[in-house]
């Protein structure tokens, strides 16, 4: 792609976003710098997926959307992704704008912060400055991170003070609406020492809204002894390019769990990178990708072990139908000095049609002797012996296949911290498999 076609708008758009959000001047400066970098930087290099021809340019960089007073104003099929609607601590973003936010008084009183990013920057500037695109995702990693840095809007700043245990999941719903719409929320989760938090993010579009661009980023900071679980579910349209970069840092004895469900139907870049910095840190990454028709997905889970006694586990699954193609890259890097660490991986691909393509690509890079690591990878079709067994109890072939696929994905879906959301996801999966 030539440099000239990298962006189809000019600096005034970037300034316009900053003016709307009334963010501090340093943020606008960072945007403008990133914007200059966009044409200079290459697209990200992905293992085994060529994205040169993917459409990262043809979208409306920012649209302002009107706020809503109540969740019931959302369309039914959008509401469906929010659970415990009456009490939910939830933020809803439509395209460029946050249109609804609610944080229960109980959490606010304990010092939990849950706002859009610009508000956070105004109200807690030092905190945002410390975490926003500094130690996690960098502005100049590649063209997409620069584009995100220049255009991000809405977003989430979720801060949990020391020792505060949040019992119910906090929710974010990111709704991409209309042709050529774009959303680029930047989500920051900071869990201070010994705190606990679950965050669930849904990235959705309604059927019919096919061509759009999601270029989101999530940064998670797990301090000493904190426990964090983040689930993201993406289900965007057929012509949509769906990019999410996730980056997390885990300190001493911190525990992090990622649950990633990629159910979008277009082009997907789903990256998840965790640095286990402190001794005894742990991360668990569970991902599923479901592809139908022409879907293309690159799902990369990377773990870097820096601290001693760190442990990681990647469990990646893919179901491919039609002529969908996915690659599951799992990269575990154990750095020198990270002794007594353990890194495990498993990648499994289930192919449902002859034209579907899928691969699992496990990579173990180990620079330290005193560690344990292992991986398992498999690519296959529905096991005829399992099918026969289920059918021998009277279950129809169709129903039996459904059960097997559901079971295959359940290792991940069952980990999502809401049964009603699990049910919505199962419904979504079944709908996609039927079409």
């Amino acid at each position: 792609m030539s440099v000239e076609t990298c962006v189809l708008f000019d600096e005034s758009v970037v300034k316009g976003i900053a003016a709307k959000t009334q963010e501090p001047a340093w943020m606008l400066n960072a945007r403008l710098e990133a914007f200059k970098d966009v044409p200079k930087l290459p697209l990200p290099k992905l293992e085994r997926t060529n994205i040169d021809r993917w459409n990262f340019t043809d979208f409306t960089p920012f649209t302002e959307e009107a706020a809503i007073g109540s969740l019931t104003e959302l369309p039914e099929d959008v509401q469906e992704f929010i659970f415990d609607k009456e009490q939910a601590h939830v933020m809803v973003q439509k395209n460029g704008s946050v249109i609804f936010r609610r944080l229960g008084d109980d959490l606010a009183e304990q010092g939990v912060l849950f706002t859009d990013l610009a508000s956070a920057a105004r109200e807690n500037e030092a905190l945002v400055k410390k975490f926003f695109m500094t130690d996690g995702i960098k502005r100049d990693e590649h063209r997409l991170s620069a584009l995100h840095a220049a255009l991000n809007s809405g977003g989430v700043f979720l801060y949990v003070p020391r020792n505060v245990e949040v019992k119910v999941p906090i929710q974010g719903l990111f709704w991409l609406a209309g042709e050529k719409a774009a959303m680029m929320p930047h989500i920051i989760i900071v869990a201070e020492a010994n705190s606990r938090i679950d965050f669930v993010a849904n990235f959705i579009a309604r059927p019919g809204d096919e061509a759009a661009f999601n270029n989101s980023a999530i940064e998670v900071f797990v301090s000493d002894g904190a426990r964090v679980r983040v689930a993201t579910v993406s289900s965007l349209g057929k012509e949509t390019v769906d990019v999410i970069y996730r980056r997390s840092l885990v300190s001493r004895d911190g525990q992090l769990e990622w649950i990633v469900a990629d159910l979008s139907e277009g082009r997907v870049i789903s990256d998840n990178t965790t640095h286990l910095k402190g001794e005894g840190g742990m991360v668990n990454v569970k991902t599923v990708v479901l592809g139908t028709d022409e879907m293309r997905a690159n799902v990369t889970s990377s773990i870097h072990h820096w601290g001693r006694h760190t442990a990681s586990d990647i469990n990646a699954r893919s179901v491919m139908k039609g002529s969908a193609t996915s690659i599951l890259n799992s990269i575990t890097k154990i750095e020198k000095g990270a002794s007594k660490s353990d890194g495990q991986q498993s990648g499994k691909v289930l192919m449902l049609s002859p034209d579907a393509r899928g691969d699992a690509n496990p990579i173990l890079l180990i620079d330290e002797n005193d560690v344990t690591a292992g991986h398992a990878a498999s690519v296959g079709r529905i096991d005829p012996t399992q099918l026969y067994y289920l059918m021998s109890r009277g279950i129809s072939r169709r129903e039996a296949e459904k059960l097997i696929i559901r079971g295959f994905l359940d290792a991940v879906v069952s980990q999502i911290p809401s049964e009603s959301l699990q049910a919505s996801i199962h419904r979504l999966i079944e709908r996609k498999l039927q079409s």
Binding site: Y388, Y389, S392, R393, G394, S396, G407
Partner: protein, 262 residues
């Protein structure tokens, strides 16, 4: 479907990967009857069970099988099950991510049909009752289907399914293998609790031991892919005591496996 079930097998031939294994099986099993099939390893007993159930690897090349007068061989595997056939398998498959109880409920509902699904309460009541009778820990209901089950636990789970599904003809393939003596008694209790004129049973076993607990009306000896001798319970006792050599001698069989000419 209240009239007594009847499974009729006539001159059944079946092959796997082009190799003929079953070479003319004839047998009739009626409601209220318990048939035992005994025979040396590799003589085609499990093949018979699989061919009856409709395992995709086994191709029926000749003969006919009817269940209650309906042509079984024309039915898909699931249709056979819904018609009332059940096979407790020698090596049941494991299915990850599908819980035992979800699977059982799907099976029951498949049989009952749309609009007539079993209520969750009733299902749980039934399941609890049957698991208790089989002395199965309730955690087996929520475990993934057969995944990580011990050999004996899998067998018990097969019987649990049979009790929940209430088949008309039940084939049990070495349901006793790998069971300790207490488990054997429990499984036999489960099977015996089901015996009635509404159920015909075909048990494949190597051991008289099982037949002490589940009394057969007929005993058949299987060799070279077919039934070579039939009799009453006393036949099983003699086989237990003396082995198969006398049968082979009596019938002039040198190699009892299916590889050789019949």
């Amino acid at each position: 479907m209240s009239k007594a079930p009847k499974l009729t097998i006539k001159n059944l031939h079946a092959s796997v990967d082009g190799k003929e294994i079953l070479k003319g099986v004839n047998l009739e099993v009626k409601g209220g009857e318990v048939h035992a099939i005994m025979g040396p390893n590799g003589t085609g007993k499990s093949t018979l069970a699989s061919a009856l159930m409709g395992h995709p690897r086994y191709e029926v090349t000749q003969g006919e099988v009817t269940l209650d007068g309906e042509n079984l061989l024309e039915m898909e595997v699931d249709e056979r099950a819904r018609a009332g056939l059940f096979l407790a398998m020698q090596y049941p498959a494991e299915v990850s991510g599908v819980t035992n109880s979800d699977f059982l409920r799907s099976s029951i509902n498949a049989k009952r049909g749309e609009g007539n699904e079993i209520s969750l309460m009733k299902f749980i009541r039934e399941l609890d009752k049957k698991m208790e009778l089989l002395e199965m820990d309730e955690k087996f209901a929520t475990r993934y289907l057969n995944e990580g089950f011990s050999g004996g636990e899998k067998k018990r789970n097969e019987i649990l399914q049979m009790m929940m599904l209430q088949p008309r003809i039940a084939i049990m393939d070495e349901i006793d293998s790998g069971l300790d003596i207490d488990a054997l008694k429990v499984v036999a209790k489960g099977v015996n609790s089901m015996l009635s004129d509404e159920l015909g049973v075909l048990m494949i076993t190597h051991y008289q031991r099982l037949l002490n607990y589940i009394k057969p009306d007929y005993v058949h000896v299987f060799m070279q892919g077919r039934i070579v001798k039939s009799g009453g319970p006393e036949l099983a006792e003699r086989l237990e005591a003396e082995g198969y050599d006398w049968v082979k001698e009596e019938l002039g069989i040198e190699d009892e496996t299916v590889g050789q000419k019949a």
